[in-house]
């Protein structure tokens, strides 16, 4: 099957050529408020990063905590049910970009 490759080999080195844009580099980017690399996150964490159920809300979280969590999952220092499987290939720049985006959103209590 497609996914039978649960690899846990050396982490920390982003795939060659995986350097994606940090920030909104394109002309006319004012309309692209959400970085394309953050789009998948909300399918589980809820629209705008505000979750309805057991999966944590990420909108409005402290940027340093989001950044540390993503790095922890990526580098294997932090354990979770699924995040370690989803963020392994993220570059440092992508983690900064995603963390900054969700930290800047308004959380449910605010």
């Amino acid at each position: 099957m497609i996914f039978h490759h649960a690899r846990r080999i050396a982490r920390g080195v982003a795939a060659a050529g995986a350097v994606c844009a940090f920030g909104l580099a394109s002309a006319g980017a004012a309309q692209e408020a959400r970085p394309v690399n953050a789009e998948s996150c909300t399918s589980c964490h809820g629209p705008g990063g505000v979750s309805l159920g057991a999966i944590p809300t990420i909108a409005g979280q402290d940027v340093a905590e989001l950044d540390a969590a993503l790095r922890g999952y990526r580098d294997g220092a932090r354990q979770g049910t699924i995040m370690g499987r989803l963020v392994g290939p993220l570059s440092d720049a992508e983690i900064v970009e995603i963390s900054a985006y969700f930290a800047a959103l308004t959380g449910p209590e605010q």
């Binding site: 099957m1 497609i2 996914f3 039978h4 490759h5 649960a6 690899r7 846990r8 080999i9 050396a10 982490r11 795939a15 995986a18 350097v19 994606c20 844009a21 940090f22 920030g23 580099a25 394109s26 002309a27 006319g28 309309q31 692209e32 408020a33 959400r34 394309v36 690399n37 789009e39 998948s40 996150c41 909300t42 399918s43 589980c44 964490h45 809820g46 629209p47 979750s51 309805l52 159920g53 057991a54 999966i55 049910t81 699924i82 499987r85 989803l86 963020v87 392994g88 290939p89 993220l90 720049a93 992508e94 900064v96």
Partner: protein, 427 residues
Amino acid sequence: MSARLTRRQTLGYAGAALSAPLLSAPALAQGSAHVVVIGGGFGGASAARSLRRVAPDIRVTLVTDAPEFSTCPFSNLVIAGLREISEITFSYDALRAEGVEVRVDPAAALAPDRREVVLQSGDRLAYDRAIVSPGIDFVWDALPGGNPGMAASLPHAWKAGAQTLMLRDQIQAMPEGGTVIIAPPDNPFRCPPGPYERASLVAHYLSQHNPSAKVLIVDGKNQFSKQSLFTEGWEALYPGMISFVPFSDHGGLSAIDAGARRIETYFESFEADVINLIPPQSAASIVRDAGLTGTGLWCEIDGLTFESREAEHVHVIGDAAIVGDMPKSGFSASTQGKACAHAVAALLAQRTPERAYLMNTCYSLVGPEYGISVAGVYRSETGNNRLSSLPDSGGTSEAGDLPQLRRDEADYARGWYANITQELFGA
């Protein structure tokens, strides 16, 4: 960081200059562009909503078959009596409120040469770009004596709605000690773990209401998604109730007697009280008729923009497309819809689309409090439709006797469903 930004900007402008001279008048000002989205499921709703958010100046029309959409994800809970169909059925009101023009008028034809979609009513919609997410059709010819009428007594329940309820009702009406056959096709097909979640939740229902009944999976393949995790769960929750008959043990279907509810295979024949016959599948007929599947059954696309390799200005997402290693799942379709919206907005503004980090997660419920998952991560890239699973990522939940993990993943499965349906259809 700023060095990367500068380099990326330079590359982006260079690319744009090569593909379309910046000083020449663009064919379409973004403000007047019209995108027609075909399909009101996970891919289409995601693309339409995302496009309104990413590029509010673009006019978006969503063409769909019905005023409401019932999701295939969580339809196995309806079959098992754990949810009502109303709880997995959604309207398009929230899309309308965001400025998506919703046409409940099935798309009858797609004419890429005229950049036009023809609706069943005869109305014609001109587009600058089309995003097509029509899902699957069944290849009845691939079954012995196969025809669509078989679904009237042997429900596929592989498109959610009336078929889901038919299968539920048949299982509930089954005699004591009866047998349910689930007959999944070979790969590729919509929702690779779906038949096995279905077997699990049917067994959950039977264990409470008809405990001497059996579930038999007569499979068109030898292995399936999350197989060791499912098998482990079946032994823990429903010992002896579910049997898996791989293709190599039966050799394929040779005859189907819908009236007698019997299937013959090359090595063995099987009788049952309920047969859930899930036929082989292809991309929906609208894209096959438009020539978008070439000589095959599925649409090949550019891995960065999802643009068809057979027709310009038509982007195909979701189950109808072969998107590299991404499985045919609602989550994948939704992810692709978002990335495709970014790409289409960029193309209409004469910009070079950015590469995207794409995720998929498929949760399955082996029981109401027993969840498992498989995940994959991909990067969109132009050229050859690879979208390979990235190294150092993806894979299934840990195996073993881990009750807390199974409970957590069951909670997360419900949380995922609540959030993705809210994102697609919620206000």
